[in-house]
C-alpha cells in the first residue's frame, strides 16, 4: 500500500482496518454456512425439524409457554430479592468476630455445609411436599411457596459464600482504619466493608442469578405451571418437542442479555479501578 501524498493518515488507517473486519466476516459466514448446509441436507433433517423446530407447533404452543414463562419470571425475581437479603445476613453472621458471636458463626458455617451439600431438587421435594404433609396449623400450603423457600435456602448457601469472598477481598487496612476510628464491628461492616464487598461480588452474583433462572423449573414437580411444565404439557399431548424449543428461546432471551450486562459491568469496574492506579 503506497502512501498518497496529500492524503491524511485517516484514509490509510481505514483501509488497514477494513481488511481484518472483512476477513473475520467472511470466515464466520463460510464456517457457519458450511455447518448449516451440512445439517440442512442431512437425510434426517426434515424429521428433526418437524419434531423440534416446527413453526406451526411453536406458534401453537407459544401462548401457553409464554404464560408459564411469566410465572417463572415472577418466581425468579421474588426469590432473587429474598436470596440477596438472607445470604447477606448469613455473611454478616460469619463476619462478626468475638466470642459472643460464636453461635452466629457456627450457624452460618453449618447452614452452608447443609444447603450446599443437598441437591436443590431434594430440597424442593422435602419442603414442597413434606412440610404441607405435616398438616401443621397456620403454615401456608402452596407448593409454590415452599418450593420457593427451598430454592431461596439452597441458593443462599452459594450466595453467602460469594458475599464472604467479597468481604474477605476487601483490604484488611479498611477494617483497621475503621477500628482505629472507633467504629463497632457492625458499623465497620455497614459503612466500610459491605459497600466495597458489594462491588466485588457483582459478577459472581450475576452468575447465580442466571443459574437460578433455570432452577426455577424445578418447582414444576410441585405442580407449578412454569415455562418448562407448560411446554411439557404440549409435548405430552402432541409428542412434538417444538414447545420445549420455544421455552428454550425464552430462557435464552432472558439470560443472554444478563450475561452481557455482567461482562459490561465487570469491564467498567476494572477500568475504573485501573484508572485510579494509572
Amino acid at each position: 500500500m503506497t502512501r498518497r501524498p496529500g492524503k491524511g493518515r485517516r484514509q490509510i488507517a481505514l483501509k488497514d482496518r477494513l481488511a481484518p473486519v472483512l476477513i473475520s466476516l467472511a470466515s464466520v459466514i463460510v464456517v457457519f454456512g458450511a455447518v448449516g448446509w451440512f445439517v440442512g441436507t442431512a437425510p434426517q433433517w426434515p424429521r428433526i425439524q418437524l419434531q423440534f423446530f416446527s413453526i406451526e407447533a411453536m406458534v401453537e404452543a407459544a401462548p401457553g409457554v409464554a404464560k408459564g414463562f411469566l410465572v417463572s419470571l415472577q418466581i425468579w425475581l421474588v426469590s432473587l430479592v429474598c436470596i440477596g437479603v438472607w445470604a447477606l445476613i448469613l455473611a454478616i453472621f460469619r463476619a462478626m468476630s468475638g466470642p459472643w458471636f460464636a453461635p452466629l458463626r457456627v450457624f452460618s458455617v453449618v447452614y452452608v455445609d447443609l444447603f450446599r451439600g443437598l441437591p436443590a431438587l431434594l430440597l424442593v421435594l422435602l419442603f414442597g411436599f413434606g412440610i404441607p404433609a405435616l398438616n401443621l396449623p397456620g403454615l401456608p400450603r402452596e407448593g409454590l411457596f415452599w418450593g420457593g423457600v427451598a430454592l431461596v435456602l439452597s441458593y443462599s448457601a452459594y450466595a453467602t459464600e460469594v458475599y464472604r469472598s467479597g468481604i474477605e477481598a476487601v483490604h484488611e487496612g479498611q477494617s483497621m482504619a475503621a477500628k482505629a476510628l472507633g467504629l463497632t464491628q457492625w458499623q465497620t461492616l455497614r459503612y466500610a466493608i459491605l459497600p466495597q464487598a458489594m462491588r466485588n461480588v457483582v459478577p459472581a452474583m450475576l452468575n447465580l442469578v442466571v443459574a437460578l433462572q433455570k432452577d426455577v423449573a424445578l418447582l414444576s414437580v410441585l405442580g407449578v405451571r412454569d415455562a418448562v411444565r407448560e411446554a411439557q404439557i404440549y409435548t405430552a399431548r402432541t409428542f412434538n418437542y417444538s414447545s420445549l424449543v420455544v421455552a428454550a428461546i425464552l430462557f435464552l432471551l432472558a439470560t443472554i442479555p444478563l450475561a452481557r450486562l455482567t461482562d459490561h459491568l465487570q469491564r467498567r469496574d476494572r477500568q475504573r479501578r485501573l484508572q485510579g492506579a494509572l
Binding site: H171, K179, L181
Partner: protein
C-alpha cells in the same frame, strides 16, 4: 506528666519476638520519629500505642491512664489517639467529606451539620477544601493521604500516630504530606512518626529513636543521632542510608 508512657512493651508473633521490653516516654507536644530497618518492630510498636495490636507484656499509658482502663469506654481511646496508615485506607465508597465526618457522627454522636462544618474547616485549613465532594479514587496519592490525615484529626485527638505515611507515594507527592505534618507540629500536636524519610525525620523530630530487633538501640536529638551515632548498629544503619543517597551526611 508524659503524654505517652510505654513501659516494658513486649510482643511475640508466635515464636518470634517482635518487641522486647521497650520503654519510651513522649512528652506533650513532642514529636518522636521511629527509624530502623524493616521488621525492626516500628509499626508494631506504633499500633500497640492505640491498642490496634495487642501486646503480651508491659503497659501503655496515655496521660497517665492505661489504655485498657475502663474509663476510656469503648471509643474514648480512639478519640484521643489518631492514626494514619501507609495505605491511607480511605473508604472508597464515600466522599472525602463523608470519610471525615463518619466517626464524629456515628461514633461520637456529633450532629451532622456541626461535624460537616468542622470537617470543612479542617479541609480548608490544609488546602483541600475543593475536594470535599470528591471520591478518593479521583484524588492523587498525596491528596488522599492528606485527607487521611485530616480524617484522623476530625476527632480532635491529642496524639497522632503516623505509620510510614509517605512510603506508598510517588516522590513528587511526598512533599505536600510532609508539609502538613510540619504544620501539625506548629499547632503543637504530639506525634509519633514511623518513617523512612530520614531528612524529614531530621527536620521535624524533637527526638529520633532507632529500633533494631525489637529494641530501642539508641535515641536522641536528631542532629546528634544522625551525625554522631554512638551505637555501632546505628552507625551501620545510617551508613547504608547515606550510601543509598537518602540522607546527606552532615558535616
Amino acid at each position: 506528666m508524659n503524654r505517652i508512657e510505654i513501659d516494658k512493651l513486649t510482643k511475640f508473633y508466635g515464636e518470634r519476638q517482635v518487641l522486647d521490653q521497650i520503654d519510651l516516654s513522649v512528652a506533650p507536644h513532642e514529636v518522636v520519629c521511629l527509624i530502623g530497618a524493616s521488621g525492626s518492630g516500628k509499626s508494631t510498636m506504633l499500633r500497640c500505642i492505640n491498642g490496634l495490636t495487642e501486646f503480651d507484656e508491659g503497659s501503655v499509658r496515655i496521660d497517665g491512664v492505661d489504655i485498657y482502663d475502663e474509663s476510656f469506654g469503648r471509643t474514648g481511646l480512639y478519640k484521643k489517639v489518631g492514626i494514619v496508615f501507609q495505605a491511607y485506607n480511605l473508604f472508597p465508597t464515600m466522599s472525602v467529606l463523608q470519610n471525615i465526618t463518619l466517626a464524629p457522627i456515628k461514633v461520637h454522636g456529633r450532629p451532622r451539620a456541626e461535624a460537616e462544618a468542622a470537617a470543612m474547616k479542617l479541609l480548608e485549613l490544609f488546602g483541600l477544601g475543593q475536594y470535599a465532594k470528591s471520591y478518593p479514587e479521583q484524588l492523587s496519592g498525596g491528596q488522599q493521604q492528606r485527607v487521611a490525615i485530616v480524617r484522623s484529626l476530625a476527632t480532635e485527638p491529642e496524639v497522632l500516630l503516623l505509620d510510614e505515611v509517605t512510603a506508598a507515594l510517588d516522590p513528587e507527592l511526598i512533599g505536600e504530606v510532609l508539609k502538613i505534618i510540619h504544620d501539625l507540629k506548629q499547632t503543637g500536636m504530639t506525634m509519633v512518626i514511623v518513617t523512612h524519610e530520614m531528612a524529614f525525620a531530621r527536620d521535624v523530630a524533637d527526638r529520633v529513636c532507632f529500633l533494631d530487633g525489637g529494641r530501642i538501640i539508641e535515641q536522641g536529638e536528631p542532629r546528634q543521632l544522625f551525625s554522631k551515632p554512638e551505637n555501632p548498629r546505628t552507625q551501620k544503619f545510617l551508613e547504608r542510608i547515606i550510601a543509598s543517597g537518602r540522607l546527606e551526611a552532615l558535616a
